[in-house]
C-alpha cells in the first residue's frame, strides 16, 4: 500500500484580511501602525517633494550612457545590448520550460525592463526602444518555451552555462573575429565594469573557496597548514592592500619584457584571491554541520572519496550555508567600488567625475541617490535569488 502524500492546504489571505491580521489585530497594533505611517510620512514627504520639484535629474539623463558603460566605444554598444537581449531570451525560455522555478526571476526582469523603458521615456533618452525590445524578446521566448517539447530542458542548462563565457567574449572582443574588434579592458567602466568584476569574481571564487575549505579539514599536514595560512592571511589584511598589491607589485615581479595583464584583470584576480578565503570559511561552517555518520554511510555503500564529497557531503554542507555565501556575494558586489583607488572607473567613480563637470556642480544628491538605487536594486535581486534557492532546497523545513 502506498501512502498518499498530501500537502497541507495553504491559507491564502486577501489584501484586506492581510491588513486586518498583520496591522490592525489589536489596539496597540493599530496605534503602532498609525505611528509608523505618521513617521514615514514626515520622513519621506520632504524627500519625495524634493525629488519631484527641485532635483535636477538632467545630470542622470545627460550622462546615462557614461554611468552604464563608462568609456566603452559608442559604436560598439550593440554588443552590450545584444548580451541584454540574450539574457532576456534565456530568462523567457527558462520561464516557459522550468515554469515555477524561474517565474520570479523572469517577472523581476520583466518589471525591471518595463521600469527602465518608462525611466528612459521620462528622461528623454532613446534607450526605451531597446528596453521594450528586450521585454518583447523575453515574452516571445516565453511563448516559445511553452510550446517547445520537454527535450529542450538539457539544451537550456547548456545555454545558461555558455551564456557567461559568451558575454565575456562579446564585451571583450577578440582579434580573431573580424566584426568583434577587441575592446581593451581599461576603457570598460560604469555599471558594466562593476557587474563584470562581480560576476567573474563570484563565479570563480566559490569553487576555489570549496577547495580551500576541504584543504583546511584535510588530514595531510602540508595541505592543511597551507590552507590555514592562506585563509588567515587573506582574511587578515584589508582588501585595499590586496588590490594595491595586485596593481603595483605584480608588474614589478614579472620578468623584463613581459607585458603585465590589464588593470581590470589584475583587480579581478585580487578579488578572487580575497573572496576565496571568505567563501572557504563559509563552506567550512557547513562542512562542520555534517555528521561523520554521513561519511561512513557513503563508504558502506561503496562510494569513493570524491563521489562521497560531491554527492553526499557538499550538497548538505552548501545547503546549510546559503545565506552566508550570499552574504559574501553581496559584500563583494559592494566592495567593487574600491577599484576606484587603482584607477578604474566603476559606477561610483564615474558619479564623482560627473559631479566635477562644471554644468552639474552641486548635484551630489541626485547622483548618489541614483547609485544607491542601482546597488540596492541589484542586491534585492541577489537576496531574492538566495531566498528562492533556499525554498527550492527546503532549508528550515526539513
Amino acid at each position: 500500500m502506498t501512502a498518499i502524500e498530501m500537502q497541507p492546504p495553504r491559507l491564502i489571505l486577501g489584501p484586506v484580511a492581510w491588513l486586518r491580521k498583520n496591522l490592525f489585530s489589536t489596539w496597540y497594533n493599530v496605534l503602532l501602525t498609525f505611528l509608523a505611517l505618521g513617521l514615514l510620512y514626515t520622513l519621506l514627504r520632504p524627500a519625495v517633494q524634493w525629488s519631484l520639484t527641485e532635483a535636477r535629474w538632467g545630470v542622470i539623463s545627460a550622462n546615462l550612457t557614461l554611468f552604464m558603460v563608462g568609456q566603452y566605444p559608442r559604436d560598439q554598444l550593440w554588443r552590450v545590448w545584444l548580451s541584454i537581449y540574450l539574457l532576456g531570451a534565456l530568462l523567457g525560455l527558462s520561464w516557459g520550460i522550468w515554469k515555477h522555478a524561474a517565474r520570479g526571476f523572469a517577472l523581476i526582469a520583466l518589471g525591471a525592463g518595463l521600469a527602465f523603458a518608462v525611466i528612459g521615456l521620462l528622461l528623454n533618452s532613446n534607450v526605451w526602444i531597446n528596453w521594450l525590445l528586450s521585454v518583447g524578446i523575453l515574452l516571445g521566448f516565453y511563448a516559445l518555451g511553452r510550446i517547445l517539447p520537454a527535450r529542450g530542458r538539457s539544451i537550456l542548462t547548456l545555454a545558461w552555462l555558455l551564456y557567461f563565457p559568451l558575454v565575456i567574449l562579446l564585451i571583450a572582443g577578440s582579434r580573431f573575429i573580424p566584426f568583434l574588434s577587441p575592446v581593451p579592458t581599461n576603457i570598460w567602466g560604469g555599471l558594466l565594469l562593476t557587474l563584470m568584476i562581480t560576476i567573474i569574481a563570484n563565479v570563480v571564487s566559490l569553487p576555489l573557496g570549496i577547495l580551500l575549505a576541504l584543504g583546511r579539514r584535510s588530514k595531510l599536514p602540508v595541505v592543511r597548514y597551507f590552507s590555514i595560512g592562506y585563509i588567515e592571511l587573506m582574511r587578515g589584511v584589508p582588501l585595499v592592500t590586496v588590490l594595491f598589491m595586485a596593481y603595483l607589485l605584480v608588474p614589478l615581479f614579472l620578468p623584463l619584457g613581459v607585458r603585465p595583464p590589464d588593470a581590470v584583470i589584475r583587480a579581478i584576480v585580487g578579488f578572487i584571491l580575497f573572496e576565496a578565503a571568505y567563501q572557504a570559511e563559509n563552506v567550512r561552517g557547513g562542512l562542520q554541520a555534517v555528521g561523520r555518520g554521513q561519511y561512513e554511510a557513503a563508504q558502506a555503500l561503496g562510494l569513493s572519496g570524491p563521489l562521497t564529497m560531491s554527492f553526499i557531503i557538499l550538497p548538505q554542507a552548501l545547503r546549510a550555508v546559503i545565506p552566508a555565501i550570499f552574504n559574501s556575494f553581496i559584500s563583494l558586489f559592494k566592495d567593487t567600488s574600491l577599484v576606484a583607488i587603482i584607477g578604474l572607473f566603476d559606477i561610483l567613480r564615474i558619479g564623482r567625475s560627473v559631479l566635477a563637470q562644471s554644468e552639474w556642480l552641486g548635484t551630489h544628491r541626485e547622483v548618489f541617490l541614483f547609485a544607491f538605487f542601482i546597488y540596492w536594486g541589484f542586491n534585492m535581486a541577489f537576496t531574492y535569488g538566495s531566498r528562492r534557492m533556499e525554498e527550492a532546497m527546503g532549508v528550515g523545513r526539513r
Binding site: 582574511r235 587578515g236 584589508p238 571568505y278 562542520q288 555528521g291 533556499e390
Partner: protein
C-alpha cells in the same frame, strides 16, 4: 554629545585590594560550584548561585566600613561658559562610526545566524518540544549548540570584516589608524614602511581574533565516536 561618567577618587588605590579580593573570591566560588556539580548528578539548587552575589557584597561592605571614601565618583557634564565640562565626551564622528558599523555588521551577522539555525534539522525542535522543553530552553540547549558549528566560521569572517571596515572612519574624518598613517606618510615620505606597519597591525589584530574564535570553534565541535 556628552554622557555622565565615573572617575576614580584618591581613595581608589586603597580600594584596589578589596576589588582584587572580590574577584579572586568569585573565581574560587566558580571552581567550588563546578567541583560540587561534577560530583552530584542533580543540578545545583538555585540558592547556591546566590554565593556569586552575597560574597562580593560582603567584601565590599567590609571595604565601606574601613574606608570612608567611595572608590568612584560620578562625573556629570556641567554647562560652564560656552561648553560642557566633565563627563564622557562622545564626538559625532565616533557616534556615527559606532552606529554605522553596528547596524551594518548586525545585518550580516543576522543572516549568518539564520543560516545556522535553519541548518538544524526540524526534528530536533520537534523532539525538544515533545520532551517538554519550552521554546527558549529548546533554543538555548538544543538548537544553538548545534547551530553554532555552522555559525562560528562565517561569524569570524564578519568580525574580521568589522575590524577592517573601521578603517572607513577616514571617510567621516575620524582619526583612526589609517588617517594617522596618512599623516605619517605625508610627513616622512616612508610609504612602504608605513603600509607594512598598517598591514602588520591589522594582521596581528585579525590573527588574534581568529585564534580566539578557532579555539571556541574547536570547543563547540561535533563530538563523535
Amino acid at each position: 554629545m556628552y554622557l555622565p561618567g565615573f572617575e576614580p577618587t584618591p581613595a581608589f588605590n586603597s580600594w584596589r585590594i578589596y576589588i582584587w579580593i572580590a574577584l579572586v573570591s568569585l573565581a574560587i566560588i566558580w571552581l567550588m560550584l563546578r567541583l560540587i556539580q561534577n560530583r552530584s548528578e542533580l543540578p545545583l539548587p538555585l540558592w547556591a548561585y546566590l554565593a556569586y552575589i552575597v560574597v562580593p557584597i560582603l567584601i565590599l561592605w567590609v571595604g565601606f566600613v574601613t574606608q570612608p571614601e567611595p572608590p568612584l565618583k560620578a562625573n556629570l557634564p556641567v554647562l560652564t561658559g560656552l561648553n560642557f565640562r566633565g563627563g564622557l565626551r562622545l564626538t559625532p564622528e565616533f557616534a556615527a562610526l559606532l552606529f554605522g558599523l553596528v547596524v551594518y555588521t548586525g545585518a550580516f551577522i543576522a543572516e549568518v545566524v539564520r543560516a545556522g539555525i535553519q541548518a538544524v534539522s526540524r526534528g530536533q525542535v520537534e523532539a525538544a518540544r515533545s520532551l517538554g522543553f519550552t521554546g527558549a530552553q529548546a533554543l538555548h540547549l538544543i538548537i544553538f549548540p548545534q547551530a553554532l558549528r555552522v555559525i562560528i566560521p562565517p561569524l569570524t569572517s564578519q568580525y574580521l570584516n568589522l575590524a577592517k571596515n573601521s578603517s572607513l572612519a577616514i571617510a567621516i574624518g575620524y582619526p583612526d589608524l589609517f588617517s594617522i598613517a596618512g599623516t605619517v606618510i605625508n610627513q616622512t615620505g616612508a610609504t612602504i614602511e608605513v603600509i607594512v606597519i598598517i598591514m602588520l597591525s591589522y594582521l596581528s589584530m585579525s590573527l588574534f581574533t581568529s585564534l580566539l574564535m578557532n579555539i571556541y570553534n574547536s570547543r563547540m565541535r561535533l563530538v563523535e565516536r
